[in-house]
Symmetry: C2
Subunit: 342 residues, 2 copies
């Protein structure tokens, strides 16, 4: 979706150069206007240079109004009932007076391709709520780019008054780490297991989780879900060192029947109490700093890959390194020499 009007872009681009002029999206977004919020997210998702400048200015102006949400990451393999869980969970929070935003990260999604995370209709009840805002995954080819835009979208929904920000991702690929690096707490949804293995869950994902929730604890699977939860807890206790602040909990729920959902929110509360405000602020400070360095790294490497002369040399050098004809250090020196013009 392109930015509709070119006028505010020009105004703000001018503003960043001379003196700050308030972006026309600023006031309505702060007031919680959904259209302004949606447009602002489209703006931060744009890769156009003038949009990027405007987005940076808008984000910086909004920063004092961000950070007042509980930031939750949720992951789980397709089929675990993630959409149903998030819908029930979101409705529970809205009933309790919260304003909920759901953002998705899925580097494989194409906005037009109807990605599983991009389909708003899968959370139909939740999306009809005035206090819910659902945004599909931004299109993008690199996880870094997709994650960056989602981080910024998270700041925007906070500025628009959402006090629970849920970032959702599928339990495949590298996206879970990116999500864990932008939230306060990471929740892993699991299916009842046959007692043998975590089907389809990628290595490393379990270790990111602050809370494991075994879904589908209903009907025929109720007992299997309870047994799985207890097995997971034992395995976690054995394989993972006890952190001073928090030992991951394992719970069961039935998203379909709406049972165990309130208890997940209770666990979020216990986690936040265990971390304390200072603990969460510290985690966010570390995340912001890491985010800065990721931004620098991503942008710098993108510039290097775009460099015409580097582009020309790269394929041959990569080939030589892979086949063992050239030492990686020697290849790197040549590429950098070209890029930095030495």
């Amino acid at each position: 979706m392109p930015i509709r009007s070119a006028r505010p872009v020009v105004m703000t681009a001018l503003a960043t150069k001379t003196q700050p002029v308030e972006d026309p999206l600023f006031a309505p977004l702060l007031a919680g206007d959904r259209r302004a919020l949606a447009r602002a997210i489209t703006l931060v998702e744009s890769t156009r240079e003038d949009h990027r400048e405007r987005a940076d200015a808008l984000l910086t102006a909004l920063l004092p109004h961000t950070g007042r949400s509980v930031r939750l990451g949720i992951t789980g393999v397709p089929g675990v009932g993630k959409s149903t869980f998030i819908e029930r969970f979101g409705l529970h929070l809205i009933e309790a007076g919260h304003k909920v935003a759901v953002l998705a990260i899925d580097p494989s999604s194409k906005r037009t391709g109807g990605s599983i995370l991009g389909d708003k209709t899968r959370m139909e009840l939740l999306s009809r709520q005035a206090n819910a805002f659902i945004r599909p995954s931004p299109a993008g080819t690199t996880l870094g780019g997709v994650a960056r835009r989602t981080r910024e979208a998270m700041l925007l929904v906070e500025a628009a008054g959402h006090d629970v920000a849920i970032v959702e991702t599928v339990g495949v690929g590298q996206s879970e780490t990116a999500v864990a690096d932008m939230v306060d707490m990471f929740i892993l949804l699991l299916p009842p297991s046959g007692g043998d293995d975590l089907q389809g869950i990628k290595k490393g994902v379990v270790e990111l989780a602050d809370l494991l929730v075994v879904n589908k604890a209903d009907g025929d699977l109720a007992r299997a879900a309870q047994r799985s939860a207890s097995d997971y807890l034992n395995a976690l206790r054995l394989l993972y060192p006890v952190s001073a602040a928090w030992m991951p909990e394992v719970r069961t729920c039935s998203a379909v029947e709406g049972r165990g959902i309130a208890e997940v929110w209770d666990a979020v509360g216990r986690y936040r109490a265990a971390q304390g405000e200072a603990g969460i602020a510290r985690r966010r400070g570390v995340q912001a700093r890491a985010w800065l360095w990721n931004e620098i790294g991503e942008t710098l490497m993108a510039a290097l890959r775009r460099h015409p002369e580097v582009k020309r040399q790269l394929a041959a050098l990569e080939h030589d390194v892979e086949t063992g004809a050239l030492a990686p250090s020697a290849a790197a020196r040549r590429i950098l020499g070209t890029f930095l013009g030495r």
Copy 2:
């Protein structure tokens, strides 16, 4: 240790510019001369620009003679008996006709400070063997730098005829990932557990392991070690998806009594058979490519951090980002603008 003679440096620096002149270390290193090998490692560890150029040329010349070793990573927390295990394991391999090199990675070590990994005397029996070469961790402040030099040292010991290269690291920090990224197989040494948790082992390390070895399966701890091994195996089966090529094994051993050591080498053989030559070649190709990009990234970021004007701006921008006064994307754009002179 500085490079002793300046003459070959000048010769080779000249050589890389005009036509290849064989480095004086080339022939003796290939013939397995230990002094030449030690000097070559010192050369790749040097950060001097002319040494770096010479090292790149030497490495590239030696590349066709590398790759013919079994590359093993070994980690475990201090106290698990890592030195004793590696010594016994190395002696077993030498008896079987192998030539063994032990390299260490410990970013926290200071060459002069007597790091636990830098102390050659801790493997006294092994270090006296003609067919063993032990090299302590290179000094360095960043893991990236230390890992890069160890990767290059690994190529050098291979060129010198070592057919088993062991890269050792302590089970703390990020160094395990760096080691796993440069070896064919990663072994985690564990103490017998009280059945509650993996004391002191960092999150994520278990998932890197292709083989878990519970040491100290002797005397009073023999039964606890057996029980631990069986608990670990159950937990692994539950939490980790079964890979098509290899399910991590769990074994026990007593390094002190020398029992279970031959069986570890047998497990290495099974692992290599399961991967196949093609599987290992593929893994190494992926590693070499990743190494190239790491080199580029590390070197580029180092150049950015050294840039005088970037240095001047950085502290204030980092502070503004951490305290939420400036959006990370905006800060990154400023830093990159300065660095790339835009």
